[in-house]
Symmetry: C4
Subunit: 237 residues, 4 copies
Amino acid sequence: MPSPSRAGVPAFNAAELDPVKQKLVTACHILDREGITDGYGHVSARVPGTTAFLTIANVSPGCATVDRLIMLDRDGAYLGGAETPPNEWPIHACVLKARPDVMSVCHTHSVWSTLFSVLPIKLRPLHHYGKFLPAAGPPVYDAAGLVRTVERGDALAEVLGDGPVVLMRAHGDTVVGASIEQAVQRTVRLAKLGELLHLALLHGEPRYLTAEELDTFSADERFPARGWEYFVSRLGK
Amino acid sequence: MPSPSRAGVPAFNAAELDPVKQKLVTACHILDREGITDGYGHVSARVPGTTAFLTIANVSPGCATVDRLIMLDRDGAYLGGAETPPNEWPIHACVLKARPDVMSVCHTHSVWSTLFSVLPIKLRPLHHYGKFLPAAGPPVYDAAGLVRTVERGDALAEVLGDGPVVLMRAHGDTVVGASIEQAVQRTVRLAKLGELLHLALLHGEPRYLTAEELDTFSADERFPARGWEYFVSRLGK
Amino acid sequence: MPSPSRAGVPAFNAAELDPVKQKLVTACHILDREGITDGYGHVSARVPGTTAFLTIANVSPGCATVDRLIMLDRDGAYLGGAETPPNEWPIHACVLKARPDVMSVCHTHSVWSTLFSVLPIKLRPLHHYGKFLPAAGPPVYDAAGLVRTVERGDALAEVLGDGPVVLMRAHGDTVVGASIEQAVQRTVRLAKLGELLHLALLHGEPRYLTAEELDTFSADERFPARGWEYFVSRLGK
Amino acid sequence: MPSPSRAGVPAFNAAELDPVKQKLVTACHILDREGITDGYGHVSARVPGTTAFLTIANVSPGCATVDRLIMLDRDGAYLGGAETPPNEWPIHACVLKARPDVMSVCHTHSVWSTLFSVLPIKLRPLHHYGKFLPAAGPPVYDAAGLVRTVERGDALAEVLGDGPVVLMRAHGDTVVGASIEQAVQRTVRLAKLGELLHLALLHGEPRYLTAEELDTFSADERFPARGWEYFVSRLGK
């Protein structure tokens, strides 16, 4: 079934989206299973070749199903699926608009991201899992409260810049990836890195990884098939 | 079957109470599943249009069933159900008496509430989940020990005042809501806020949310259908 | 079937021991389920009317079965059951010998007991769960290493004195009770109290419960039917 | 089926390896179940009487199966099994080459090992579980990043020396044993010891075990049948 036609939105074939939809649901379940989301948060995926994106409706990631996905245009216009968009759809719309390289966006209320969002300490990487992060740590979007408007979404995207992560004060994080798998693995690793840094800081000044060290690391970060298989294997356990 | 008639207690139809009873049992199971209760604690719900309330008998929240609920009047008089009231029924009786706006009360031994009950530090909100709390944090009921008398229950209600939460020294917390769902979600969020504040304080002075910021937040706090669906989905996992 | 006759050991009827044996196995499973034991540790129960006691053989509490129990006399003499006694049987033999009021002994490597066993800080109670503890906290048996001899067992019992708990340096704890249920609930609560004190101490000097306050508390500590039902309900989840 | 013949590699009978393979898979599952591995890490076992070793292919320990094992020679030459070796096969090749007494090697990204790898604090033992460690704690391999070359593998083996453990900066640990069971139990205990030391250090200087004390301990460390049975019993729970 072709999509509703709308000026500026290329047509797409719903059947082609089925694997994306299924992966998006799996991504939501993974973030829930790994203890990152807690009833709130969402994952989105760009609809290839269009300005549209898919995300979950106003439901918990742990309760996501294919029938509870929604398709929105970059301005929030409804293009299909479950009727009620998440309150914070501008996070996804604005980041995907500003970052053509990004295919997927995760927004969570991760406790470790929230922690570093309210402290005058940067979440600098201490483990090679942090290869995807800048050595100085991700920036913090300083405005507290939900991102329910395009103005706030654009401001968030501006702080994100061309980086992989933006922390959100008193709120959580937004993490981007070149694929759903990458965005999810980065989100999980960001939480692990945050926990590790928290633990280390309790004992004094840890030895951080330098930018030079991070540059030299090889990692399966771009297409994390191994991590994805592992996360999937844990669902339902 | 009409309730036992008793001076000052309006009659009620038991069948109308069935959904409330089922929700009360679910609330108990949620607090257990989320790691808030530990064999002790209870949830109560006002019987609409009466001075009576329902709560669990002297059993663990995790072991609650509809058959183990008890109905009491505000003075502790037995009105039906399981025979043995919880030792601390005055918590519920006295708070519901003092607060006509409250429909449900949760009492737990949450480790995070207990922690801030024995420290000279207020549990001030650091995340927008804390919208329901005063910016200065909840008050502490200072008398250690169980609340087994109406005198202590009234004193607890006085410290609670018109707020959402009172911490109880060396004991836990009492949290109120305009619905069972709201009281439960507030209880879970209070624990999350306590844990986050604990973590943040280990690194110095965090950036608290101001009263102005808390005021501006929108939230589905009043009728938390989304959070409730999520909590229910986790039961039995 | 009567027990093997032996000088000084009254005969007992094996069938009468079956409920004790089953409860002992359940106790082991509870301590494992609650995260207190970790492959090591044991629970014992006095055989009523004799100088003998039952405990698990040299197996993990989480792997206990009725067939893996062993009966020993107070000097370690084998009286029946699984053939291999636990290495540290003198803990149980010596404490039961020294304390006629004690019916059950738990020995675990609880992380929270171990923590306070290597610090110059007493595990003083901060929650009314600590009613069973002295306000000054339990003593520490200072000799590191296993308790594999009667000499060490007697020394341990001497440090225990007439109290409920003795911590064991670089090792764990030994907790006694007037019943299996009480010993188990005390062991679990000791861990909870240790965790709470650990958390509180990170923020400065907490407000401890005074001896006067502890005295005034009422609690279902002596026969903890409610806690026991709860622990049992969690087995297999 | 005899192995591929190759200069310097004695023939072996594949059927004889089946129990080793099964145990290796179980070892991987245990490390995953106990929360030590997280999608990354691997366990290896020497092929008796040869210079070859078995390990998992480039998959997560939690996803290991007998069909996903690979046999490599000490120089990384492929000898059979799943086609893709783990990136860090030199860890195993070089340690097994340097240490004829070692039959099994575990490499994990344990958070507790990583923590002490980035701090100027030694992971000294505080519990008798640390009997296998030197009283001064294990050394740290200082080069950050993956061990994907023989040069790095040899350097790691040199820092390991004749000890049981080497921590790896910003990475994790490598732990050796005289059997698969011993290497696994040591890995789990190292994590427990790291967590305990972390907790203790937050409260000041703990009382460490002395070298003399560690020497006097008896333990079932060499062939940990009891611990292994326990770990196996927890799989699938």
